[in-house]
Symmetry: C2
Subunit: 736 residues, 2 copies
């Protein structure tokens, strides 16, 4: 975001003081080692006569705190805690504490930290006023004191610096800056008072702690599973997420506010407007970066962004959703990606996906701007909505894919899912946009010879066919369509639609001519390079015979519904006797469609049939299926033991695969490894083996993906193992 | 806005067709002169055998239509109409119409106009289907037909191209492109079905048609009137407003939607994020442009922006509000600027304006980031809110001044004023932000020697002291504070505050120590270069004598409340007997403050008094008053007669004014004229006379402003005249 305010001299008279927008950028000392009291008459450091208290060591007790805070998996040398929950710090002094000793802990974040902004926290351990973080002495053992510190449940999220300050004579004597005692504070789904509180432990384990997941792609009859390594615990990922906030120039003091964080995240995960993380690319040319189909997870993308500061090429919707999901879980926000099958992408802000046909029934491409995405992935987060009336909290839709104008910018949400289901579209953010994605009607218009449009066919069931997210206990899809909408045509659904209408969503009110005819298109899903056989059925339930003027248009489409190239545009006449059905068989051979595929593998067919007094249409999308890799794991399934992953693949096609790139990765197991193969000849096989040492226990997966320059991706069925739990052996302490 | 989507090849597979975002950019023919029907078997233009109908002339009837549409004042050669209201077009054919003749009018806007997007309107005049704009034949006279066309009340707003198309044989024969028959369609406050409908005629005359107005500036005790030439009817201004929409790359099809237009306008009037119209500058250095204080109105700014495409330097809040007001009224949207006296500018998104004091009571500038603007100007528009529950329509707050993060970007509103009054802050856009501007509490904190903050004094009445807008019938201020809030402390006010609290506006809940002491600061407003006398009263209503440790801090501030320079920081002790009041007199001579003024003229004083057990503060802002210009009008007060404006000024100061720039302007009277004076010596006078020919009748004003390099502006009391009404003599017709 262009929050460059306060930077130019033009704004010298606008802002009092510099807005701190950098968390990781801070370096150097915050304080002089001895700071006299502002009201001290003769500011002077106390002479070191051996009686003054001083600090020998500060131990952030990583091994003790992190299991309590469910943060032991983070691969960082610094303590990670969740806000609203006590953590322990052990301070070793030069001598046992005396009654008269007075000291405090100070936690600082960003440049120019300030108590009034929540970026400088003074924690006291006696009756002296401090706060709002609370402190208590948990135990004393000789010269070592164990302190309990509880950040407020609305604390700023990010990386804090820790100081111990001792009241010494006429001032404060402080520890030196020590990076080892830095502290990450995260959102806390386990804390009732945190806006991200989630009551169910299984859900918390999945939506905050699971670092591997799946997203769904494809069409309803042929849904593919896309494994994704979120990797929120991998080395550097948490810092990369904080870097994103720094890059957005988001003020430090806003970083504890869940709504601002989500709104900013939604904007920053795509590169539009703000040089955010991922560059969208929906074309056949990925030559300036990596194909969206070639990623195995978020880790490489986030690390590359944080290391270079330059947006990463390239992403499509599931990549945006995957990276956003990592960002959210890394910061402690319960999140999941979802897939909406047949997602309405209305470019006009109404609820109508409009297809215009020419007088002969063939598509009028120049006037059709709406599209139906075969599927679209976005995210959901579970939060309280204090800014809305009661009842609208819980899951919220959030979308980082750069969209059609959503309030003028490329971001979307958070939008209350309950609000969308109930048609309460009067609340921020972008609930009307999400509502349209799952509720639009498909309307076919005929353009007459004079340029006037008339609607002739409406399909109210096509859009938002199903909304899926991963199940809690497996990789199988959990159908959560009922979270977004009531059953089409039910009383509740009508109430919702009436409300949406009242909030000026333009519902379809077309008065259609009565039709008796109907058309359906049937086809088996086939493998890429097999012939496609369509059966188009024309039903005439009327008592009079009809002669139908039909048009069959077939195209290769992007998964966004946009036409990549036209395959067939075929006019034919078919007589259908009264009360009968007639079928037209159409074959499109592999030789016919293969030259037009590019990296796409979706075929869309639209049939329009007309008689003198009626017109009807039908729509069908086929997803050509692709081969898979085989991944086999071997070795000793133990943390920090040697293991091996073997990937094999045989080219099933009668053409060579070129410039192949094989990538494999596993959260907690292996960072991304890649191999390149110039050519894989028809029927040729490849095999490759990588070794790794598992870092984390539990159920773990290796994901492998191969992409080629002349074909879409070749995905794996991932191979998973279960690693027995181990004691955390991290133990970091810091000395002053 | 960075709506550059669809431009890069990356998005080839994202968008179906190009999004049209340019209204004025279109040139060239839209159609071939003869367009065969798509279903015609042998497309061929008909032979001209003299029997075919053809068009001789199209007359847009500007003189007839514009008085009906209240658009006669627009200085443009093209017809301007308001949507939802019929206008007439006279078409002269080559022969009288026959029964079998079939023709239609076509209105096109933007590139690639399309019927499905509302950017290509087919208007028919027989039973043949057209629409949604309706047409009827009003009259026939020989070969001339008078047609009535009614745009829908939700039509796209902008500049349309007009074609007449005649069904001729196997196709359509069309008129050629003719710029003279272009048509501006505006919002219509007179039309019940338009979202901007305003029922009251006096209000419509003011808020849509008045091209001159005033804004208020200063402090509550010394409010200054700032005359402003909106000039929405001046030559080029309407095109400049459409240019702004083009520059924003706002899709053509969104330009009839009031909410999208307002949201975009709020973002585009300032240059931040999007290279919009005005560059904000709050400093003492305006050397790279014109001082915000030097403008007489919006016209120069809009024309310069449209001519250069580069943001105009420089603006402060009233300039943003003035230019935005022109933009809104030019497009037909009822709008007014308002001034909020003592406007809370909270940088933290809560409802607390926080001032931090050091232990001795002096200001802690480095920790104080909130400010109180002496005043802040924004806009209101009167619209229906179809996107919200009933009851929230009417006046809406809109702010084009680049703000502290308002949802991450520099724009604000539309926010329902009724919603703000009732505390219904759960609706878009930015109602919480505006609520804070009028409702925040001022809280003084003391920072103790350990860095901990404690609140000690709260003022709940200081912020949002009054909200003013120009009265309907005069330039005197109309206090509309009750539109924004209930009486402080009333039952309704408490209900509103409770609601705001529930929507997580952080209200002040400080538990303050009981105080008995109070402090007040009294001072007369004085002219610039006179000495300032402060009387600080310390009241001790208790039964024990108190000795008060007091701090008086005085600064030159920007009108935004930001400190420009410190004048005094004075600690003193004052004993106050029980039940008595003691006063401290403080004099700040002109010699003391003049060197620190820069271009500012506001002095802020804060007194903090402390005893052992209590602390209190008081706050006072003084506005140093400036001399005025004298404007005298002479000549014949008639439209298109010679008139003269004489401006005189005598330098009242004991120092010379340098690099003086005198500007004068009057809406409907005179475009901006400027004179430069290198030096005006102490007590020296200048006089200058400009001639002009009034273009418009009614009550009209000349505004003059002078700014100098070494002093803030010298404003005029504007001089006004009433010009008798004249018949409109415009008469444009177009031939094919």
């Amino acid at each position: 975001m262009s929050l460059s305010k306060g930077k130019s001299h033009h704004h010298k008279g606008r802002y009092n003081g510099k807005v701190s927008t950098s968390n990781l950028g801070h370096s150097g000392e915050d304080f002089p080692e001895f700071e006299p009291f502002p009201d001290a008459p003769t500011p002077r450091a106390p002479a070191d006569d051996g009686t003054y208290l001083s600090v020998q060591m500060v131990d952030m007790c990583q091994q003790l705190n992190e299991p309590q805070h469910k943060t032991a998996s983070y691969n960082t040398p610094n303590l990670v805690v969740r806000r609203g929950q006590e953590f322990l710090v052990r301070v070793t002094f030069n001598r046992p504490l005396a009654q008269s000793d007075d000291f405090q802990l100070e936690f600082l974040i960003g440049e120019n930290p300030s108590a009034s902004r929540g970026s400088l926290m003074v924690v006291t351990f006696n009756s002296r006023l401090g706060g709002p973080w609370s402190g208590r002495i948990v135990g004393r053992q000789g010269v070592t004191v164990t302190l309990g510190i509880t950040p407020t449940p609305n604390a700023i999220v990010g990386k804090f610096r820790t100081y111990v300050a001792i009241v010494a004579g006429t001032g404060m004597q402080r520890t030196k800056r020590n990076a080892a005692s830095d502290l990450y504070v995260l959102f806390n789904a386990w804390c009732k008072d945190d806006a991200v509180f989630l009551a169910n432990e299984a859900e918390r384990n999945e939506y905050v702690l699971n670092d591997h997941g799946v997203m769904y792609q494809g069409v309803i009859e042929d849904m593919a599973t896309c494994d994704w390594v979120y990797g929120q615990f991998e080395r550097g990922v948490l810092d990369a997420c904080i870097y994103i906030l720094d890059a957005s120039q988001m003020p430090i003091w806003d970083r504890g506010k869940i709504m601002k964080m989500l709104r900013m995240g939604s904007a920053m995960i795509n590169s539009k407007d703000d040089n955010g993380v991922c560059v969208g690319n929906w074309s056949d040319d990925y030559s300036m970066g990596r194909s969206p189909l070639s990623w195995t997870g978020s880790v490489q993308i986030l690390l590359q962004y944080a290391n270079t500061g330059v947006p990463v090429c390239y992403a499509q919707c599931w990549v945006f959703a995957g990276v956003f999901n990592t960002f959210l879980r890394a910061l402690g926000i319960p999140a999941r990606p979802i897939t909406n099958i047949a997602s309405g992408h209305d470019s006009n802000g109404n609820l109508k996906i409009e297809f215009i046909r020419l007088p002969d029934g063939s598509p009028d491409d120049s006037n059709t701007t709406d599209t139906i995405w075969n599927y679209h992935c976005w995210n959901e987060v579970f939060i309280r909505r204090d800014d809305l009336p009661p009842g609208l909290g819980g899951w919220q839709a959030l979308d980082a894919t750069p969209q059609e104008t959503s309030d003028g910018f490329n971001r979307c949400g958070p939008a209350s899912i309950i609000g969308i289901k109930e048609g309460l579209l009067c609340h921020p953010f972008d609930s009307g946009f999400v509502f349209a994605e799952v509720n639009s009607d498909v309307i076919f218009y005929k353009q007459d010879r004079y340029g006037t449009l008339t609607p002739y066919w409406v399909n109210k069931d096509y859009i938002g066919k199903a909304v899926y997210t991963k199940s809690l206990d497996s990789n199988s899809p959990n159908n959560i369509t009922q979270n977004y909408k009531y059953t089409q045509g039910s009383e509740e659904d009508n109430r919702t639609k009436d409300r949406a209408d009242a909030y000026s969503m333009e519902m379809d009110q077309s008065e259609l001519p009565d039709t008796t005819l109907s058309i359906s298109i049937n086809a088996r899903q086939v493998n890429l390079s097999q012939d496609v056989n369509l059966q188009v059925d024309f039903h005439n339930p009327s008592d009079v015979p009809k002669t139908i003027q039909a048009n069959l248009a077939g195209s290769v489409i992007f998964y966004t519904g946009v036409k990549a190239s036209q395959l067939i545009n075929h006019n034919f006449t078919i007589p259908v006797p009264a009360n009968q059905m007639k079928s037209e068989m159409v074959k499109i051979t592999a030789d016919e469609y293969m030259p037009y595929l590019g990296t796409q593998r979706c075929l869309q067919f639209v049939v329009t049939g007309q008689t003198e007094d009626e017109s009807v249409s039908a729509l069908k999308v086929l997803n050509l299926q692709i081969p898979t890799l085989t991944v086999t794991l071997s070795g000793s399934p133990q943390v920090q033991q040697d293991m091996f992953a073997n990937v094999t693949f045989t080219n099933p096609f009668n053409f060579a695969l070129k410039a192949c790139r094989l990538a494999m990765e596993g959260a907690g197991l292996m960072s991304e490894k890649t191999r390149f193969y110039g050519v894989i000849e028809p029927q040729a096989s490849i095999s490759c083996t990588e070794s790794f040492n598992p870092r984390l226990d539990g159920k773990r997966c290796i994901v492998a993906v191969m992409d080629c320059s002349n074909l879409c991706e070749v995905t794996s069925t991932p191979s998973s193992i279960i690693l027995p739990a181990v004691e955390c052996t991290n133990n970091h302490s810091s000395t002053v």
